[in-house]
């Protein structure tokens, strides 16, 4: 019974309703083939949102994910230009490692120097973008410069879904396993839910936050390779402003920005919701320029909704004191 009332069920119902509305104007949108392509298209957002989820759970925020994606993607593309015969597996390994290293920079600054995450990641966001410019000299790397197996791999279709989509599914399952079945996953909830209590139970709050940034970075790196290979182009401004969409997906998915509350399923559904909206806009004749405002409005509506439903049921002694904090 509890699932029916849960956040995930409401979100699922909203997605079905949305698909129904789109289908009344454009029935072809809900054919399995098109839905599969919408899913594949949303995979990078979903992967980034799953990383961001872990960070937000620990009461932090990572605004550098899109810049990390772009930087790692650019490096992957440059490596591919230099060594076209490198196996794709190795490229993915490089992307994961490099993304994790960039995430570790954020994590170390937050853990060791206790700098607020918003400041750290605003700073690294611009630094990463600047570094892409320095590396690439402002040049684009285009499709014809990349090798066929580099760009082809994420687009191969297995059982009607692209490899990119399957990778997204694998990441979601792994994250679900990590969050529900490992001590590390549980510690993220504990640290965000009540840092004081977490310290007394022997958890290292800073270390958990550091690891959250590493996970978020590694997933951003993975998404970086997938993005560059999927669109077959790499340049400085790739995925510019995408971090806002990622935060939007998390907030819509019911991740509480106050930390400690959220689920993998919710995050996946949040990302899917935004992905469907994005793909439906051109179909129902709305200019794609609406996308940015829609993510913004979605963040605000979802965060208001989260605050309402998440408010503790305890007796409020001094009503006006609530707003002071």
């Amino acid at each position: 019974m509890s699932f029916v009332k849960s956040r995930e069920a409401i979100l699922l119902a909203a997605i079905v309703l949305l698909l129904g509305l789109i289908a009344t104007r454009f029935p072809a949108f809900i054919t399995p083939h098109n839905l599969a392509s919408v899913y594949s298209d949303t995979t990078p957002l979903m992967i980034l949102a799953l990383g961001q989820m872990v960070v937000i759970l620990t009461r932090c925020i990572d605004l550098s994910v899109a810049a990390n994606l772009a930087l790692t993607g650019m490096v992957c593309a440059m490596i591919n230009v230099a060594a076209p015969d490198l196996p794709v597996g190795l490229t993915i390994l490089i992307a994961l490692t490099m993304g994790a290293a960039l995430g570790a920079i954020n994590g170390l600054l937050v853990w060791k120097l206790a700098i607020p995450p918003i400041v750290v990641t605003l700073g690294t966001m611009t630094i990463f973008r600047g570094v892409i410019f320095l590396l690439s000299d402002g040049q684009w790397i285009n499709a014809h410069e990349m090798s066929a197996n580099f760009t082809g791999f994420p687009r191969q279709v297995i059982l009607g879904v692209t490899v990119m989509g399957w990778i997204g599914l694998a990441v979601a399952l792994l994250m679900a396993l990590l969050m529900a079945r490992t001590a590390l996953g549980r510690s993220f909830f504990a640290v965000g839910g009540n840092p004081h209590a977490a310290v007394y139970t022997g958890l290292n709050v800073g270390r958990a936050q550091f690891l959250a940034f590493v996970i978020s970075g590694a997933l951003a790196g993975l998404a970086g390779y997938l993005w560059i290979a999927r669109y077959a182009v790499a340049y400085v401004d790739i995925a510019g402003g995408f971090e806002l969409e990622v935060v939007a997906a998390c907030v819509i998915g019911g991740i509480s920005i106050a930390g400690g509350v959220g689920s993998v399923l919710g995050t996946v559904l949040g990302a899917m919701f935004l992905g469907i909206v994005k793909n439906a806009l051109p179909v129902v004749d709305i200019s794609p320029f609406w996308q940015l405002a829609i993510s913004g409005a979605a963040i605000l509506i979802a965060v208001t909704f989260n605050a309402r439903s998440g408010r503790s049921k305890g007796r409020v002694i001094l009503k006006s004191a609530e707003h002071a904090q």
Binding site: V119, M125, F133, A297
Partner: protein, 339 residues
């Protein structure tokens, strides 16, 4: 954040020796962040004049002030907001929306007074929107302003798409391109007047004391009779209004409006405030510090510009500055604590 404050307070008290008297006022002033910053500013000034022969020229220096005047106008209000423990990341998007609104009014055939009034009013409305969400609904300002950051700029994109507004009336150029006298630009005068106003408000009025009190302990401030929500609301309104003022200046200076106008400026404004010695966790900071920080950032970007460093590379520098300014004192304190 509250965790760090509550757990570190008793430790900090126990760690150092308790002084039996306060440092002499002149000594405290000499060792303050502001004096350090002033030395840095003078150092950069001297370095710049050696680095480029074009630097020491009244008109060039006057041009250099445009690098920081608009950002500093917002930074004054942002400083108060951050001291009170909140933040507004939507300021650059408010500029985009205000500029778009001004463009619409201009297209409708209204003159300069109406255009300026529209810019200021749009800023105020945006500030009020942020303020209501934060103070009435009790939402965290970081998320609210991340949301409005994409909402406000998103509305500009809906209106303009990939187009632009051009053809502002010629007397509108006064704000961004006019000069009060000789090399002193109108923007520089606005900047100076606002600096004085904000300095007086923060350091000499009850309102200013309330801002500090809220930043140090919002619940405590509430119980001492400060109307916390109201003060915060006023601060969001001020930040919105200042973004409106900056939008008027910037639009007038560029002479056109695109939806990508002032993108990324929120980062530079926050960097300026933090560089000025305002504690990002709230509770302390000063307007003179922000003023000097504005000059430091203006001189640095202008100096790098004279050396033909591209804008995106300068942004690396701004990012490093933001993190470095907070990280270095903490690193220093850590190393000294271990020794």
């Amino acid at each position: 954040m509250s965790l760090a404050e509550t757990t570190s307070a008793p430790e900090a008290r126990a760690r150092g020796p308790v002084p039996d008297r306060l440092r002499a006022p002149w000594e405290a002033k000499l060792k303050s962040w502001e004096s350090l910053l002033l030395v840095v500013a003078i150092g950069i000034f001297i370095l710049n004049s050696f680095a480029s022969p074009y630097f020491l020229n009244a008109w060039n220096l006057s041009d250099a002030t445009f690098n920081f005047t608009e950002k500093a106008m917002i930074a004054f209000a942002m400083a108060l907001l951050i001291i009170a423990g909140e933040i507004d990341l939507s300021v650059a998007s408010i500029i985009a929306l205000a500029s778009t609104a001004m463009g619409l009014v201009m297209e409708a055939g209204f003159g300069t007074p109406a255009i300026v009034a529209t810019g200021l009013a749009t800023g105020l409305i945006c500030g009020a929107f942020n303020g209501v969400l934060v103070t009435r609904l009790g939402l965290p300002s970081i998320v609210v302003t991340i949301g409005t950051m994409s909402l406000f700029r998103g509305i500009s994109y809906i209106v303009l798409g990939d187009g632009a507004f051009r053809g502002y009336p010629s007397d509108f150029a006064f704000f961004g391109q006019g000069y009060a006298f000789w090399v002193i630009s109108v923007e520089l005068v606005i900047f100076a007047v606002l600096a004085v106003i904000y300095g007086v408000v923060l350091h000499k009025t009850n309102f200013g004391r309330a801002v500090y009190a809220i930043g140090n302990n919002a619940t405590g401030a509430l119980f001492s009779g400060i109307r916390v929500a109201r003060v915060k609301m006023i601060l969001f309104l001020l930040t919105g209004l200042m973004s409106g003022v900056a939008a008027v200046c910037l639009t007038s200076r560029l002479g056109s409006t695109r939806p990508s106008i002032a993108s990324g400026m929120e980062l530079e404004v926050v960097t300026m405030v933090v560089l000025g010695g305002v504690n990002i966790l709230g509770g302390s900071g000063s307007i003179p510090g922000v003023v000097i920080a504005a000059f430091v950032m203006g001189l640095v970007t202008f100096g790098l510009g004279l050396l033909n460093v591209p804008g995106i590379v300068m942004s690396i520098f701004i990012g490093l500055l933001l993190i470095g300014v907070i990280a270095l004192p903490r690193l220093w304190a850590k190393l000294r604590g271990k020794a």
